[in-house]
């Protein structure tokens, strides 16, 4: 019996390392290729880290970067303002609506972004009419896109604490509902809120479909556009954007680890 276990362990180790080697190669080669491709022109990387020269040489790219940063921060803000009070309120006062809110929040998962664009086009005709055609107005559509992910993060945070008891205790001590949400519940779900915001930033920085089809600009649209004129530069920016997203999501996964422990 023991011999069998040892033999199996050895076989499993061989299997493990061959799978990791083959798939690891598949995943690493494109990244190496990006490094090699983007360093073919020695000028590319120095230019990329020199913001004044970059915005002068590639104004569209600079606009895209600025637009994406603005969209990411505004979407996080709008998502939090919309979702956190609603999620807390529904848990505390309207438990019957919870299923409906959950359904609505998860709905965008079954509606591909390309389909959403088709339906959003007429809605955005009105948005343009009232707010103008700034690419920051995409924030409205992005908040819908991130709803499923943000909702799950916040809902998980709320499930981990006893919202009802906390709220009743605060209320019996004379706190208003605003105080309950702002000073009692919110501090208790801080890390859930942070991970929802991180996810939002990562998703918005990678968004292309809606921006491109509604003729707005953001980082991904700018990269796509850049690819038509300067291949080396577009690969360099792709790699930089990728590393940024990697860093964001790695921080996020560390968060998740701490949360579950």
């Amino acid at each position: 019996m023991a011999g069998l276990a040892v033999r199996r362990a050895r076989r499993q180790r061989a299997f493990r390392w061959s799978v990791l080697l083959v798939l690891g190669t598949f995943f690493v080669v494109p990244l190496i290729a990006m490094v090699e491709f983007s360093t073919r022109d020695a000028e590319t990387w120095p230019l990329l880290v020199n913001w004044p020269r970059l915005s002068e040489t590639y104004p569209d790219l600079a606009n895209g970067i600025v637009a994406s940063l603005g969209q990411a921060s505004l979407t996080s803000l709008l998502m939090l303002v919309l979702l956190v009070p609603t999620a807390i309120w529904v848990r505390l006062r309207l438990p019957r609506l919870r299923r409906l809110v959950e359904f609505l929040c998860l709905l965008p998962l079954t509606i591909p972004a390309i389909v959403l664009v088709v339906g959003l086009a007429p809605v955005y005709a009105w948005v343009n009419y009232f707010l103008g055609g700034s690419s920051l107005t995409l924030v409205f559509a992005y908040t819908v896109l991130v709803l499923p992910y943000a909702y799950r993060a916040i809902d998980a945070g709320l499930s981990a604490i006893d919202v009802q008891t906390l709220a009743e205790a605060a209320r019996s001590l004379g706190a208003s509902w605003t105080t309950v949400i702002w000073r009692v519940v919110l501090p208790n779900i801080r890390s859930a809120v942070l991970s929802a915001a991180f996810l939002t930033v990562a998703l918005v920085l990678g968004e292309f479909t809606i921006a491109s089809l509604l003729h707005r600009t953001n980082l991904q649209v700018a990269i796509d556009y850049l690819g038509k004129s300067s291949a080396t530069m577009s690969v360099a920016v792709s790699l930089a954007a990728l590393l940024l997203a990697f860093a964001l999501l790695l921080v996020l996964s560390l968060f998740g680890k701490r949360e579950s422990r």
Partner: protein, 298 residues
Amino acid sequence: MAEIATTAPQRVARRPRLRGASSLLGTVPFFAYVTIFLIIPTLVVVIGAFASDAGGFTLGNVRALGDEYVVAAFGRSITLSAASALIGAIFGALLAYALVTARTGGLLRRMVTAACGVLAQFGGVTLAFAFLATIGLSGFLTLWLTEHGFDPYANGVWLFELPGLTLVYTYFQIPLMVIVFLPALDGIRPQWREATESLGGTTWQYWTRVAGPLLAPAFLGSTLLLFANAFSAYATAAALVSQGSPIVPLQIRGALTSEVVLGQANLGKAMALGMVVVVAVVMTLYSLLQKRTARWLG
């Protein structure tokens, strides 16, 4: 009180009506927002699919889905999604199993899962450019292979067609499979293997009679999720394919950008509706399989 209870029986009777109403007020911003930016766009697609250019009701758009080139696009979309889902599922499951056997160490598993979490999100334009830098016409791998006497494009450039798209999609499908399939593999108890062995079962019998049937619903469900993921993807294909519209999302792009052609806009809505139907069917099957999986491997 009794009066209120009879007129509004769905409301809890001992609560004054006004408080219930004011509670509802707290959710108004959320519901208003979701109505404008989610419900209305969805209705625009659904209604538009059945609307004629003059505004009346028509089945013409939906019937136009039967046109040869639309059917062909749906066929290619489904082929692409199925192929990349299947390849992703198989390799993802192998990788997930490799991680499960490495239980003791911990570090390897943590690192690979974190990397998978990141790579599963990696799609869109940047992924397209990554592959252009790798196996594009002047890509790193293409040049290296050609130098060593092997031209990958001897029979034509396949990167911008279905085989190329399948390869590129695999890059985010495998990590996604690892993430969704790993919990099911973790649900497999080592005791089940020991029980099989103490009853005289071989490894083959363990996999075909015990672990296989238990994992089958989870594997199928994960594959369906991967299918929906590939079917909905747009950005990677859009950045890679600039000529022609081989798959449905690119056809919708065509319909949206060439609104000068009469009737194209509503055909776009009909195709969008078709996509929603496919994804909805797949996701329903997925959730059914999830329930089955939870019975043993929860």
